[in-house]
């Protein structure tokens, strides 16, 4: 087999890309191991990250699957640019936007607080932030899935008198479970890795059963880094990487046709 320079260069660049993360795994679980990085607090943070991300993805799938389908079948540059917006701005901006949205000083905030919805340091705020920052990736992924689908069955179903909504529910959705699952896992990875927006709107959660007082894993790693130094953060980061790996593998297996 001839080895081309392009192949060598490509794999070299791949190593450059992942080397710091792989080495972090080695240092964090090996020479620089610090038990605080795997403490009960960190375990709770990882569980909180998993639960809040899973909740966000569930809402994303319910709310944005129709939009993804609609945009795939009715191309609209303005709408697609707007979908990208939350992913384009620095993520702390989303956190600040949510704080303003739910502030007692604004009409929207007065309304939300009036019906008992408080974003600040609450699970609600965390999940909303994760929905907003992770939905663009879900929608993008699902639009390209719907784009790749053969459209002839849909026209046939409509020609036989069924409306677009009925066709979506009974013909398109049953054939899209794999695409929905893949897009969900991609946005789950994205939600798990979110830091900027939740560091502002939900630095720690005050209203979630035994997890009250916990922060999301990304936020806790930052806390460890600022209060206990690099060593504690290294082990905590390694733990986070290990949690992310199965999700990545599942996404890869599912997206392979």
């Amino acid at each position: 087999m001839r080895i081309s320079w392009l192949g060598i260069l490509s794999y070299l660049m791949l190593i450059v890309l992942i080397l710091p993360v792989l080495l972090l795994l080695y240092w964090g679980l090996g020479p620089f191991y610090d038990s605080i990085g795997l403490s009960l607090q960190m375990q709770k943070a990882i569980i909180l990250s998993l639960i809040s991300s899973a909740m966000a993805v569930l809402f994303i799938a319910l709310l944005f699957t129709p939009l993804s389908y609609y945009l795939s079948r009715n191309r609209n540059d303005v709408a697609e640019t707007l979908v990208d917006l939350p992913a384009m701005v620095p993520h702390p901006v989303i956190g600040i936007a949510l704080l303003v949205f739910d502030s007692p000083l604004t009409p929207t905030g007065k309304f939300l607080l009036g019906i008992g919805i408080n974003f600040f340091n609450s699970l609600d705020g965390m999940v909303i932030a994760l929905i907003i920052v992770s939905a663009p990736l879900y929608i993008k992924s699902l639009i390209s899935y719907f784009d790749s689908m053969d459209i002839a069955p849909e026209y046939f179903a409509r020609g036989l008198g069924a409306g677009v909504g009925k066709v979506f529910m009974l013909i398109v959705l049953p054939r899209s479970l794999r695409g929905i699952l893949t897009a969900s896992l991609i946005s789950l990875s994205r939600a798990m890795s979110e830091f900027g927006s939740i560091a502002i709107v939900a630095y720690s959660i005050l209203n979630f059963f035994t997890l009250s007082g916990s922060s999301a894993a990304s936020v806790l790693i930052y806390q460890y880094y600022t209060s206990f130094g690099l060593k504690a953060a290294i082990t905590a980061s390694a733990a986070m990487i290990i949690v992310a790996i199965p999700i990545m593998i599942a996404t890869r297996i599912l997206s392979r046709r």
Binding site: P153, F156, A157, R158, I171
Partner: protein, 203 residues
């Protein structure tokens, strides 16, 4: 019984190709033409999958030019038009929205079209999928059935065309199918030749 009538006066540009047709089709008909003559474009325009640049489509006196696909009472059957996730028997009922389900009619059409199988449509052979799609269109509320290419993929092509056209007559539906084979013209009342985007009635 009133004979169905399809009136077309359409123009559509696709790249350097220009389709420009004026037809008044009464009863069942076929469109004869080689590859690239514009048959598929024409059928897609009638079904509402494409929009004409200008012109008008009238079906039984009703202007359907601006109607959406589901409002036209027109269905296009091609080798790719089947509902993959449905069972055959459910598939056959898909187009029945306004009428009562007539079990004897369903059995009759199943027998005549040759549907002696069941299962999820996606797992059937191409020929079986096409029979299912044709039977579904015949049983549906659609009053105009367009067929593009589909007949070419079944082993008893000639017999299937003949049966389909006869059932259309019985059910008071109109059929318009595209073909490259001139001998198909004996099954229908009218034949149009499509060449370089222009149509000419030859029967």
């Amino acid at each position: 019984m009133k004979t169905a009538m399809l009136e077309l006066d359409l123009a559509k540009k696709r790249g350097s190709f220009m389709l420009e047709v004026k037809m008044k089709i009464i009863g069942n008909a076929c469109i004869l033409g080689r590859n690239g003559s514009g048959k598929s474009t024409l059928l897609s325009l009638i079904a509402g999958l494409l929009r004409a640049d200008r012109g008008i489509i009238k079906f039984n006196g009703r202007d359907i030019t601006k109607k959406s696909v589901e409002e036209r009472n027109v269905v296009l059957v091609t080798p790719a038009t089947y509902l993959p996730n449905l069972e055959v028997d459910k598939h056959l009922l898909w187009g029945i929205n306004k009428r009562k389900i007539d079990k004897t009619l369903i059995e009759d059409i199943k027998t005549r079209i040759g549907i002696n199988y069941s299962g999820i449509v996606d797992r059937l052979s191409t020929g079986m999928k096409i029979r299912t799609a044709v039977a579904t269109a015949l049983l549906s509320d659609a009053e105009l059935i367009l067929v593009d290419e589909a007949f070419s993929f079944v082993d008893d092509r000639d017999a299937l065309i003949e049966k389909t056209v006869r059932i259309c007559r019985e059910l008071n539906k109109q059929i318009l199918f595209a073909t490259q084979d001139e001998s198909d013209s004996r099954h229908v009342e009218e034949v149009y030749l499509l060449r370089d985007g222009k149509s000419e009635r030859i029967k």
